[in-house]
């Protein structure tokens, strides 16, 4: 039988406590807990962020992990009314910002905390999708140009003056269309290969990424990349899902949470390099329809739905990317 000594030329360390900074592949026996431990390199780790003032889900988001923005959504326990609430995050605490002019949920966001755009969504007071775009300056929202047609739960990307909305539910059904915003008005862009809603979105107007979503099947793992004119196929997500969140750029994106075929909610987190998705650290708590923003190495997940229906949370989670050597217990026979 092969031995550790025979394979690696050294004995397993016998330590009273786990090393503070284990190396990738390092194996040791913890004499206090009587467990065999190993250091494993994984990409990234999630930690708790500051809680939102109240539980909500299906909001819009913009900004970064340390200067984030959450707006609109639905309070926990119901599907109406849509909210006009905006909250700003400083990396620790959420504080109130200016209210949206049109309360809604299922809207997309783009830009930064002090220069954001929120577009589309669903207005529960009229039971209709909306065309409204609103622009945030760090203090208040003002009306921007209207989308060419109602659209809710689309993917979103870009900045306040150069945004894109793609997929989502149009006036009567999911759509494949892309609309591009220049800070004043929306114009038609290239169509996605197929209609999709509840898709994740990130990137810029000329280098956007659409991933996952709900389709007839009902979930897809398809990723598409936009160059400002047309969409082409990217690498598939490892886990097909819809109602997921994401952040980052077309060549360095992060996708997290969402509904999967076997569960209402998931903790899966995947990282995209422009070609393929790889699994990284799982969320601490599973979600769908949460607000996602930030970058691939500094992502932010805010609030969201924690069941298949109307139950939401106020919790926030922060992703720190890059290689991290984590300590795990070795189990087996």
């Amino acid at each position: 039988m092969a031995t550790y000594y025979g394979t690696y030329g050294q004995k397993v360390q016998y330590l009273a406590s786990d090393p503070a900074s284990p190396q990738n592949g390092q194996v040791w026996f913890n004499s206090t807990s009587n467990l065999l431990k190993v250091g494993i390199q994984q990409q990234g780790v999630w930690a708790s962020g500051g809680n939102l003032p109240a539980a909500r889900w299906i909001m819009g988001a913009a900004g970064t992990q340390t200067a984030g923005l959450s707006f609109g959504g639905i309070a926990s326990g119901g599907v109406s009314p849509g909210l006009n609430i905006t909250n700003e995050y400083d990396g620790s605490t959420w504080t109130a910002g200016g209210n949206l002019g049109t309360a809604r949920y299922g809207l997309a966001g783009a830009g930064t905390q002090t220069s954001a755009a929120g577009f589309g969504g669903y207005n529960t007071s009229t039971s209709l999708g909306v065309v409204n775009t609103e622009e945030y300056d760090g203090t208040s929202w003002t009306a921007g140009g209207n989308l060419p047609a109602t659209r809710y739960v689309p993917g979103g990307a870009g900045t306040q003056t150069s945004a894109a909305a793609f997929g989502g539910i149009g006036p009567s059904a999911p759509v494949a269309t892309t609309s591009e915003y220049d800070g004043t008005s929306w114009t038609a862009g290239g169509n996605l290969p197929a209609a999709v809603d509840y898709n994740g979105g990130c990137g810029t107007q000329t280098a956007a990424l659409s991933f996952g979503g709900n389709v007839a099947s009902p979930f897809t793992n398809v990723t598409n990349e936009y160059d400002g004119t047309s969409w082409t196929a990217g690498g598939n997500l490892n886990f097909a899902r819809g109602q997921l969140s994401g952040c980052g750029l077309q060549t360095s994106a992060l996708a997290f949470g969402g509904s999967i075929p076997t569960s209402d909610i998931s903790a899966y987190t995947e990282s995209y390099n422009g070609t393929s998705w790889s699994n990284v650290a799982s969320l601490l708590t599973s979600f769908r329809l949460s607000a996602g923003t930030g970058t691939q190495t500094a992502g932010l997940q805010a609030a969201g739905n924690i069941s298949g229906s109307v139950t939401a949370t106020d919790a926030t989670q922060e992703f720190t990317g890059g290689p991290v050597v984590v300590t795990r217990t070795v189990t087996g026979t």
Partner: protein, 97 residues
């Protein structure tokens, strides 16, 4: 993998820090139930830090079941036109490992 369960209220920033989630797996469940590895000193220290209360698996399961039942009741109370659409599905039961 053997697991332990505890309840603890997530107060937000600092509740689970990078240094903790990198040293052991933590998984949140309905009802402020948290699943951590058994026989893990770091996990036990985290439970102490967050003033958590250890629960047996059956106790934790009962808490999760109650929360899921609440979510299912909320779903059942929805108008028919808001059920089984793309936004709402009846929450599924969760069986602890």
């Amino acid at each position: 993998m053997a697991y332990k369960y505890c309840t603890a209220e997530n107060w937000g920033k600092g509740f689970i820090e990078i240094g903790e989630s990198s040293r052991f797996d933590i998984s949140g469940l309905p009802g402020n139930v948290w699943r951590i590895p058994a026989n893990n000193k770091d996990a036990n220290l985290w439970v102490f830090k967050v003033a958590g209360s250890f629960k047996t698996k059956s106790e934790a399961q009962a808490i999760v079941d109650a929360e899921v039942a609440k979510a299912q009741a909320a779903y059942d109370a929805l108008p028919e036109d808001q059920k089984n659409n793309s936004l709402n599905r009846r929450p599924e039961n969760i069986v602890l490992e």
